[in-house]
Amino acid sequence: MASIRDLTEYVIQADIEKVKETTAALLAAGEDPLRLINEGLIPGINEVGERFKEGIMFVPEMMMSAQAMKAGVDLAKEKIEGVDIPTVGTVVIGTVAGDLHDIGKNLVSMMLDSSGFNVVDLGVDVPADKFVAAVKEHKASIVGLSALLTTTMPAMKEVIDALKESNLRDQVKVVIGGAPVTQAYADEIGADGYAPDAAIAVELCKKIA
């Protein structure tokens, strides 16, 4: 019979089938689903994060491990209907109006997702009012804005202004990123944070969440 420790190893190996099999078997044997998540699945993805930082594992492998973890979490969740699974926080993220670049934003959103955030991705070319509506609807604590064009950077400020107008600015932290964006620009428009890449974006969100 496989153990919770094996589950951690299967997450690291990104073996979705084994994760599913083992989670199902352990649940059937009466294991506590929350314990499976917290002591089996999450330590796996944490280890992957460490190995990523050390340069041993790469982003695509991290994504696969995250999927494996999720498959296990989903099975475990079925058993604990009604109990709130704690998330680190909810992030509403999108590429601002007029801008269609989404590769960087997608990466940030996948990495946040893998790190336990509940991520609401609004896609590209997102107008300010959509960000506001999503913050309200999902009770988000963080708003992530991406812009790759110099011409669309001002739209980031528009989102911040719209949040102020809706009296939501105090409830959320705004983090921004994208090739032309700088810390200086973040300061200028009154954003709460800036990150030059996805790994730093995750650290930033964890810090301010």
Binding site: F58, V59, P60, L107, P180, D197, A198
Partner: protein, 485 residues
């Protein structure tokens, strides 16, 4: 198939076999047929539907191969570009190669101080004049983003700067069709009217799909405007392998080819016979750093596929050269930019851009630009191939000189030595004369050349009334956009 050599089949770089070309074409057709594309433009969807495309219940447009065949049949296989004076200067066909700079870098790397800063209008104008002066560069692009003008006016003002500071043809970036209309207006003023511009194109428009498999409104709008006005145009995927396209070279080519063909289909439905430039490029995501990297070996292979496919389709080709992912004008920049330039030349890519890009397109280096001018000249010399006619086989000269003789004093040497390649920057002198001349490194010589071009080069000016017309187009656009100065 034709390759890049003036002398028979001597110099050729083939990336794909005929069977591989067919396999890629078939994979791309399957993508367009089975997966389909999302087209965010009503007129375009209509055109495709009438042409025989199928729109499924999710709104995806599926394009049958018959439509592609028709488009390939009606599209011209060659395009001539004219300079501002009306002279033909670029012939995009077969394996002809042409080189030009890049657009919209964020950072200007000051060649004299090494400082990195935002571009000003004056610096962009000066950079365009440098491209105008360098003999191996065939076309100009916008070089840098202007930090000192209203953001909505950047593309238009960049175009006015290109017209004023160079006679060379341009490749143009524009945010939307109204911007292209203003650019067309300015170009028409410079070359002598709309009708002339339509038949003797002076610029190429750069359009892109948003990968994977999406056709955004602005891109399609520009593509259709270009078709209507016979402005040569591409529909070039900027692949970020591993993110917006498959991580393998073949997978990226299959998808990017599907996207380019889809653009071509739409373009030819709008105006059969309008000039279309085939091509795409990539900057694979480095999975360690999450940075999209220019000029890595996979991208050079990708460009080989583009060139072979373009000849397979009989379409002119578009690509890259002389660029790098390095942060500085350093040994990495020179390695990558030189490899790309030489490979692009051998692959026979008709129109290669981004010469002077470093930091994968975020920074522009004029030093790299000047150095590449000489690298291109070296590459072009290689493309001439080896002449093996009797005069060049020189048996008569060998007879004359005979065993133990010296060719220095022979007429054959005197007749042909000037055909040899000559450097514009490289130094072939002896150590002692090099030392006596100040032991100048290549980098110092590059800066001297830059300085003298910047101080002395005066591009052929526009007539005062043309300048006025161009300024009027800018002024009207500002009024329309409600920009107060």
């Amino acid at each position: 198939m034709e390759y890049a050599s003036k002398h028979g089949d001597g110099i050729a770089f083939r990336t794909l076999t005929l069977q591989q070309l067919k396999d890629i074409h078939s994979a791309s057709c399957r993508i367009l047929d089975e997966v389909g594309v999302v087209v965010h433009h009503d007129e375009a969807v209509d055109l495709l539907k009438k042409g025989g495309a199928y729109i499924d219940s999710n709104g995806r447009t599926h394009i049958p191969e018959a439509l592609i065949k028709r488009a390939l049949h009606s599209a011209p296989s060659r395009i001539t570009l004219y300079n501002r004076l009306g002279e033909p200067v670029i012939w995009m066909e077969k394996s002809n190669v042409h080189f030009g700079a890049g657009s919209d870098t964020l950072v200007y790397l000051d060649p004299f101080t090494g400082e990195r800063r935002d571009w000003t209008t004056e610096e962009v104008a000066a950079a365009i004049r440098v491209v105008d002066a360098l003999p191996q560069l065939d076309f100009v692009m916008s070089m840098g983003l202007l930090s000192d003008v209203d953001k909505r006016m950047i593309n238009r003002i960049q175009y006015a700067l290109m017209l004023k500071n160079s006679v060379k043809p341009q490749v143009v970036i524009a945010e939307d069709a109204p911007t292209v209309a203003d650019i067309t207006e300015m170009a028409a003023a410079a070359v002598g009217g709309r009708e002339k511009l339509k038949n003797m194109p002076h610029f190429v428009l750069y359009c892109e799909p948003t990968s994977p498999l999406q056709l955004p409104f602005e891109s399609v709008d520009k593509l259709l405007y270009a078709a209507e006005n016979k402005i040569p145009v591409n529909f070039a995927c900027g692949a970020v392998e591993g993110a917006s396209t498959p991580v393998t070279v073949a997978g990226t080519v299959a998808q990017a080819n599907a996207e380019a063909l889809c653009g071509l289909v739409l373009h030819q439905l709008k105006n059969p016979g309008a000039p279309f430039l085939y091509g795409f490029g990539g900057s694979p995501l480095d999975m360690r750093t999450m940075v999209a990297c220019y000029a890595v070996p996979e991208v050079l292979l990708l460009q080989g596929c583009v060139c072979d496919l373009s000849r397979f389709y009989s379409l002119p080709s578009w690509g890259y050269a002389g660029c790098s992912s390095s942060k500085d004008f350093d040994e990495q920049a020179i390695t990558e930019a030189t490899m790309f330039t030489v490979m692009g030349a051998l692959q026979g890519c008709n129109l290669m851009h981004d010469v002077f890009y470093i930091e994968s397109g975020r920074t522009g280096s004029l030093e790299l630009l000047v150095l590449m001018d000489e690298v291109i000249s070296r590459a072009r010399h290689i493309l001439k191939g080896v002449n093996t006619t009797p005069e060049y086989l020189a048996v008569e000269a060998v007879k004359r000189v005979g065993p133990g003789g010296n060719y220095m004093g022979d007429a054959h040497t005197a007749k042909h030595f000037r055909e040899k390649w000559q450097p514009s920057l490289s130094d072939f002198s002896s150590y002692s004369s090099w030392e006596a001349a100040g032991s100048k490194s290549m980098r110092e010589r590059i800066r001297e050349r830059l300085r003298s071009i910047m101080e002395e080069h005066k591009p052929v000016p526009l007539a005062p009334e043309v300048e006025e017309k161009i300024d009027a187009v800018i002024k009207q656009a500002e009024d329309r956009l409600g920009i107060k100065l």
